[in-house]
């Protein structure tokens, strides 16, 4: 049914480390709080996007991973941005910021819900942030699985990249909850590109876990 699709670049952020296309490009200090680590990545790579500071932890993590990822390839130049999809999954949905919103409404005498917090209580906002930053208007889907699901990703990309509407995809997994975080974002195209890694369950498993 489908020709092979390829992982043409990837970015992985976890345990205080940033890996970009097989290469470690940044390492934070030991025992750095997650929020401070993300800020240090933002600053280290001289990112200039003041909206970053308004984002919740989950969106910050997705944002810095997408910034680094899209620097290493030219997909936003190569393709019509209406035809680039964003397909991301996670495990804990937006529970990190949900807990914060809940803390503003639990006490009847200290009731202060804020729209600036509440707006982030949907996991797909992270797709919105990447879309806005890069003017990407294609298909978007946020899936929730207990763990990263490479079988589904392989299968769904075969479907998606065979649609007439989609040429390339920004994909992966971004999760942030209870001080644990992991971002694994990658680009999928129909041609091999520089990395030339086939978009298969096996390769996704290997990149995600190594």
């Amino acid at each position: 049914m489908s020709d092979m699709n390829y992982i043409t670049s990837y970015c992985k952020i976890e345990s205080g480390k940033v890996v970009l296309n097989n290469e470690e490009v940044f390492r934070g200090g030991e025992n750095v709080a997650e929020a401070d680590f993300m800020k240090s990545v933002y600053k280290h790579f001289k990112t200039d996007y003041p909206k970053f500071y308004k984002m919740d932890n989950l969106c910050k993590l997705a944002f810095i991973a997408s910034e680094l990822l899209l620097k290493t390839n030219n997909i936003t130049e190569k393709y019509n941005r209406d035809r680039i999809a964003i397909v991301i999954s996670n495990s804990a949905s937006s529970l990190d910021i949900d807990t914060e919103h809940q803390s503003t409404i639990s006490d009847k005498d200290n009731f202060f819900p804020s729209p600036a917090v509440f707006v982030y209580t949907l996991p797909n906002i992270l797709i919105g942030e990447i879309a806005i930053r890069n003017s990407i208007k294609g298909e978007n889907s946020l899936f929730i699985f207990e763990n990263f699901n490479p079988e589904f990703m392989e299968n769904y990309h075969n479907i998606l990249l065979n649609l007439k509407t989609t040429d390339a995809c920004i994909s992966g997994y971004v999760d942030f909850y209870e001080h644990k975080y992991k971002a694994f974002l990658y680009t999928v195209e129909k041609t091999p590109g520089v990395l030339a890694i086939e978009h298969t369950t096996e390769n996704l498993n290997q990149l995600f876990n190594k």
Partner: protein, 386 residues
């Protein structure tokens, strides 16, 4: 070769009823499920919302005789899926060729309140865990596909269901969308000053915000025509999603994102705008959303097509909305009956829309359902009667 995707069974649970027929019957009489609720658990002041009667839910769920304790949200989804299986016994929920696609924005959000979480494992706050509970209840062997994409989740789940069928891995897909209304959601939308004091007024000149709601909608999709047990055949012809790439909490000022989703949907379906007979709009009744829709419809050459919003009947049911509203649209198609938009009186958008005001007979072959949501997302799906 892609075959058509058929709708093999449907159920809606809302304040208006526990079956899709019961719900549609209420719509035909233009009865709304949105009422003023003065309940401090929900919000510190009275709020207009569509809430499911807890006593009825409890008594309906008791009939299932299960020993496991399920949350309110899980009970809704289990009842809804039980209903579609009963409706169409040809659907084998235990088969590995059947996949559950679940749509929800907040899952068991009531468990963030410590008093509620005491009764359940901590894991139950996780949406994947809810999905797992549902699959286990029905002895379905596959990991459910969970979509959480704000207010387009339901429409997107239907589109994904069709795509998964087209990949030939499954015989049938059970698409179920659910969200419950709690203090969490009400206080959030109130903080945005987005909630109307009255039943919301979609597309109306005096619209001033949304009404919230809760509910569950389930539809079974299949590419195997022999699994249908109904003479009137409704097909999912195409569907697409898009992003405005404009603002995380405000709709596009031009409607270009929704236009893109509509254009891609019509193209996939191979149906020109001139052949659309009815549009089930998103119509949240906020100033900006309804305005944005009018611009997108004008650019899609759909301004003259009869359109309604069901948000003034069901409230905004978030992750369930796209499925509940699609099911009601399918009833409209089957009965050739357009439903008036409750509380709509005067035109109130820049580009005129043909808003349906009362229950009307009309031949409906092609129906477009649209949705838009936070995060700048949009979706459209096209249903056809064959």
């Amino acid at each position: 070769m892609k075959s058509d995707t058929y709708i093999a069974a449907m159920n809606v649970i809302s304040p208006l009823g526990f079956t899709s027929e019961e719900n549609f019957g209420q719509l035909k009489q233009m009865k709304t499920g949105v009422l003023v609720h003065d309940d401090p658990q929900l919000y510190f002041e009275p709020v207009c919302a569509a809430l499911i009667d807890s006593d009825r839910l409890r008594s309906e769920f008791k009939k299932l005789n299960t020993d496991i304790s399920y949350t309110r949200l899980e009970q809704l989804m289990i009842l809804s899926i039980e209903s579609v299986i009963k409706q169409n016994p040809k659907i084998d929920v235990k088969s590995e060729r059947t996949l559950l696609v679940i749509s929800t924005t907040k899952g068991n959000i009531d468990l963030l309140e410590p008093a509620n979480l005491k009764k359940f494992d901590k894991d139950r706050k996780m949406i994947w865990k809810t999905a797992d509970m549902i699959a286990t209840h029905f002895k379905n062997p596959n990991t459910p596909l969970v979509v959480s994409n704000a207010c387009i989740s339901g429409v997107l789940a239907i589109i994904l269901g069709k795509r998964m069928l087209d990949s030939s891995q499954y015989d049938s897909i059970i698409v179920s969308g659910v969200d419950i209304l709690t203090n969490f959601v009400v206080s959030g939308f109130e903080s945005f000053k987005a909630v109307s004091k009255e039943v919301c007024k979609p597309y109306d000149a005096s619209r001033d915000g949304i009404s919230l709601g809760e509910g569950c909608g389930t539809m079974v999709l299949t590419n195997d025509k022999s699994l249908l047990n109904d003479d009137s055949v409704i097909v999912v012809k195409g569907g697409s999603s898009s992003n405005d790439a404009n603002h995380i909490s405000g709709p596009s000022r031009t409607g270009d994102g929704l236009l893109l989703a509509i254009s891609n949907t019509l193209e996939e379906a191979g149906i020109p705008a001139s052949e659309i007979d009815y549009i089930s709009g998103h119509g949240t009744a906020t100033l900006f959303n309804d305005e944005m829709e009018s611009l997108a419809m004008a650019d899609a050459h759909l301004s003259d097509v009869p359109l309604n919003s069901l948000k003034s009947y069901f409230g905004h049911t978030l992750g369930a909305a796209g499925i509940i509203e699609s099911i009601m649209a399918i009833h409209s198609m089957k009965e050739n009956t357009l439903i008036g938009t409750y509380n709509y009186k005067e035109p109130g958008v820049t580009k005129p829309l043909n808003v349906i005001t009362k229950t009307t007979s009309a031949e409906i072959v092609n129906c477009l359902k649209t949705a838009a949501g936070f995060g700048g997302c949009n979706a459209a799906v096209l249903f056809q009667k064959q």
